[in-house]
C-alpha cells in the first residue's frame, strides 16, 4: 500500500493560481484506504475548492490511478469534463500523479505528498515495513527489515542507541528494529542467523527509473 497525505489547501491553491476550472482524480486503491483520494475526500476537496471560487468540471476515481491503460480509458469516458478544465488535481500518490500526466496533455498537479510503502495495521493506521531496496534479506532477520526498521538501516547488528525501554534513540516513539529482530530470533532460537557478516547492499541503478517487463503468459 502506498501511504500518502494530503497537502495543505494553501499549497494546493498556490499551484492552481489562475486555473479556475479543475478536474479531480482520486484512486480506488491505496488513496481510498489511506483516505486521501477516495469518494469522500474528492467530494470534500470539490467543496473546499468551490468555496475558494474554483469550478469543478468533474471528478473520477482512478481504477486504480496508477494503471495507465485503465486511467486513459476513464479519461476518455470523462473527455468533455477534462476538456473543460484548466487543470487536473490528482489525489492519489506520486505514481498516480505521473500516470495521470501521461494520460492527458492538461496541466496536472499532485494534491498529496507520498510518504512510504506501508502495511494497514488497522483502520487509519499505517506502518512502513519495506523500503523496496531491491535486495531482500528478510530471511536473516526474522522477517523484520533492518533496512527499514533500523533508523540507520544497519545490516550487521544494532548501534549503541537502543534505549533501556527498547526504543530507538532517534525517536522515543519508535521501537529499535534490531531489538525486535533480536527478540524474534531469540524466541525462534535462531540468533546464529545474525552471526555471519552481511555485505553492503548494492544501490539500485537508476533509482526512479525502475521498470520490469514481463512477457504475457510468464508466471
Amino acid at each position: 500500500m502506498t501511504i500518502s497525505e494530503l497537502k495543505s489547501l494553501e499549497e494546493i491553491l498556490s499551484y492552481l493560481k489562475g486555473q479556475d476550472k479543475v478536474f479531480l482524480v482520486g484512486c480506488s486503491e491505496c488513496a481510498t484506504v489511506v483516505q486521501v483520494g477516495g469518494e469522500d475526500q474528492t467530494k470534500e476537496m470539490a467543496e473546499k475548492l468551490e468555496q475558494e471560487g474554483k469550478t469543478i468540471t468533474g471528478t473520477l476515481i482512478g481504477d486504480p490511478g496508477c494503471h495507465l491503460l485503465h486511467l486513459k480509458r476513464q479519461f476518455r469516458e470523462h473527455r468533455n469534463e477534462i476538456e473543460a478544465a484548466d487543470a487536473l488535481l490528482i489525489m492519489s500518490c506520486g505514481t498516480g500523479t505521473q500516470t495521470a500526466a501521461q494520460a492527458t496533455d492538461k496541466p496536472v498537479y499532485a494534491a498529496t505528498n507520498t510518504l512510504f510503502l506501508g502495511c494497514v495495521e488497522r483502520f487509519g493506521q499505517f506502518r512502513e515495513f519495506c523500503s523496496a531496496c531491491g535486495s531482500c534479506t528478510l530471511e536473516l532477520t526474522g522477517n523484520i527489515c533492518s533496512v527499514t526498521r533500523c533508523s540507520k538501516g544497519l545490516q550487521n547488528g544494532p548501534c549503541g542507541g537502543t534505549t533501556p525501554d527498547g526504543k530507538c534513540e532517534v525517536d522515543p516513539e519508535v521501537d529499535c528494529g534490531w531489538l525486535l529482530i533480536y527478540n524474534k530470533l531469540k524466541e525462534r532460537n535462531a540468533l546464529d542467523l545474525l552471526r555471519p557478516y552481511v555485505p553492503p547492499k548494492e544501490a539500485q541503478v537508476h533509482p526512479g527509473q525502475h521498470s520490469v517487463v514481463r512477457e504475457r503468459g510468464e508466471s
Binding site: 544497519l154 547488528g157 544494532p158 549503541g160 542507541g161 537502543t162 552471526r195 557478516y197 555485505p199 553492503p200
Partner: protein, 302 residues
C-alpha cells in the same frame, strides 16, 4: 606512530579525544591536543560529532600531528558513501594519519541539520572490512591500489547496550572484519563493566573503557535520561550534587568554588583505578575539559 605496537604490549593504554570546532579557528583544539600529546597514546578526533556540522576530522588530525599528537581519526558512515569513505581513508593516510576508529555516527536527526540525508551506505562492520581491504592493497571491489595504507583499525562498543548479547555479537563481527582495538561508550559502573568484559572475554583484542568526566549532577541525570547505553549510578550523582552545593554556597559569597571539578576528577580517577583490573586501557572523553586531563591522570596514578 601507529597504536599497533602499544596494543601488542602489556602496557595500560590511555587515549583521549578532542572535538573540532564549528568554524576555522583551530587555536583551542590545537592547544588541547598539545596538552594531551605527551600524556596519552592517541588523540581521537570526532567526525562531525553529534551530527552537528563542523570542520572535518581528517584536517584536524593532520594539524594535531604537527603539534606532536598521535591522532586517531574517527570515521562515521553517516555522511559519505562507499566511494567517499574509501577515498577519504586514503587521503588520511597520505596526511600521516595511521589510526582509524570506524563507527556509524549519530543520526542527523540528533544534530543541527535535521533534514540532512542519512547516508549509511556502509555500516561500521562493513567499513572495518573495507578499511582492512585497503590495508591489503585493494578497494572494496577488489581493484588493486597503487601503494597501500597500513591503518591500525579500531571500533566502538556500548557495554551497557540493550541487549548486551547483540553488542558482544557485533564485537565479534568487528574483530573478524578487522578491528584491532575497542573504545567503549562511557562507563560508570565498574561491576557492570566487569560483567560485560566477562561476557566478551572470548574477544581477544584490547578494550579501552570509556571515561567521560562528569561536569555536574545535572549532566549525569541528563545522560541517564537521554544517552542510550549510559547509566550513572545514584551514588556518583549524589557525590556530584554535594560538590555542586558547596560551589553554589561559595558563589553566594562571591567566591569561586572548584568542588565539582575536584569531585569529577576524583570519580573518574577512582573509576580508572578500579577498571584497570578488567580492561587494557581507558579512553578519556573530556568533552571540553581537556585541561583537567593532566590532573586526572595524576590522580589515577597513570
Amino acid at each position: 606512530m601507529s597504536l599497533r605496537p602499544l596494543l601488542g604490549s602489556d602496557k595500560f593504554i590511555v587515549t583521549s579525544e578532542v572535538g573540532p570546532p564549528k568554524g576555522v579557528d583551530m587555536t583551542h583544539v590545537l592547544e588541547e591536543a598539545k596538552l594531551l600529546a605527551p600524556l596519552v597514546a592517541g588523540i581521537n578526533v570526532t567526525d562531525i560529532q553529534a551530527a552537528a556540522m563542523r570542520i572535518g576530522s581528517i584536517a584536524t588530525c593532520h594539524l594535531i600531528k604537527d603539534v606532536g599528537g598521535e591522532p586517531v581519526v574517527q570515521v562515521v558512515t553517516r555522511d559519505r558513501n562507499r566511494l567517499a569513505l574509501q577515498s577519504d581513508l586514503l587521503s588520511a593516510w597520505v596526511l600521516g594519519i595511521e589510526n582509524v576508529l570506524c563507527l556509524t555516527g549519530d543520526h542527523p536527526v540528533l544534530g543541527d541539520h535535521k533534514g540532512a540525508k542519512p547516508v549509511y551506505d556502509l555500516d561500521s562492520v562493513q567499513l572495518l572490512k573495507v578499511a582492512r581491504g585497503l590495508n591489503e592493497g585493494h578497494d572494496m571491489m577488489g581493484n588493486e591500489l597503487e601503494g597501500k595504507p597500513d591503518f591500525c583499525l579500531g571500533a566502538v562498543v556500548t557495554p551497557g547496550g540493550n541487549p548486551v548479547e547483540m553488542q558482544v555479537m557485533k564485537m565479534e563481527k568487528k574483530v573478524e572484519a578487522g578491528a584491532e582495538f575497542f573504545q567503549t561508550q562511557a562507563v560508570y559502573d565498574v561491576d557492570a563493566f566487569a560483567a560485560f568484559m566477562q561476557q566478551a572475554s572470548h574477544v581477544k583484542v584490547p578494550v579501552l573503557a570509556g571515561i567521560v568526566l562528569l561536569k555536574s549532577a545535572g549532566m549525569a541525570r541528563y545522560m541517564n535520561a537521554n544517552v542510550a547505553g549510559v547509566q550513572v549510578p545514584d551514588p556518583l550523582i549524589a557525590e556530584m550534587a554535594a560538590a555542586g552545593k558547596k560551589d553554589k554556597a561559595l558563589r553566594a559569597e562571591g567566591k569561586k568554588g572548584d568542588h565539582q571539578v575536584k569531585t569529577s576528577i576524583e570519580i573518574a580517577a577512582r573509576l580508572i583505578r578500579e577498571l584497570r583490573a578488567s580492561c587494557r586501557g581507558v579512553h578519556i572523553m573530556p568533552l571540553g575539559w581537556g585541561h583537567h586531563v593532566p590532573a586526572l591522570l595524576e590522580a589515577a596514578e597513570l
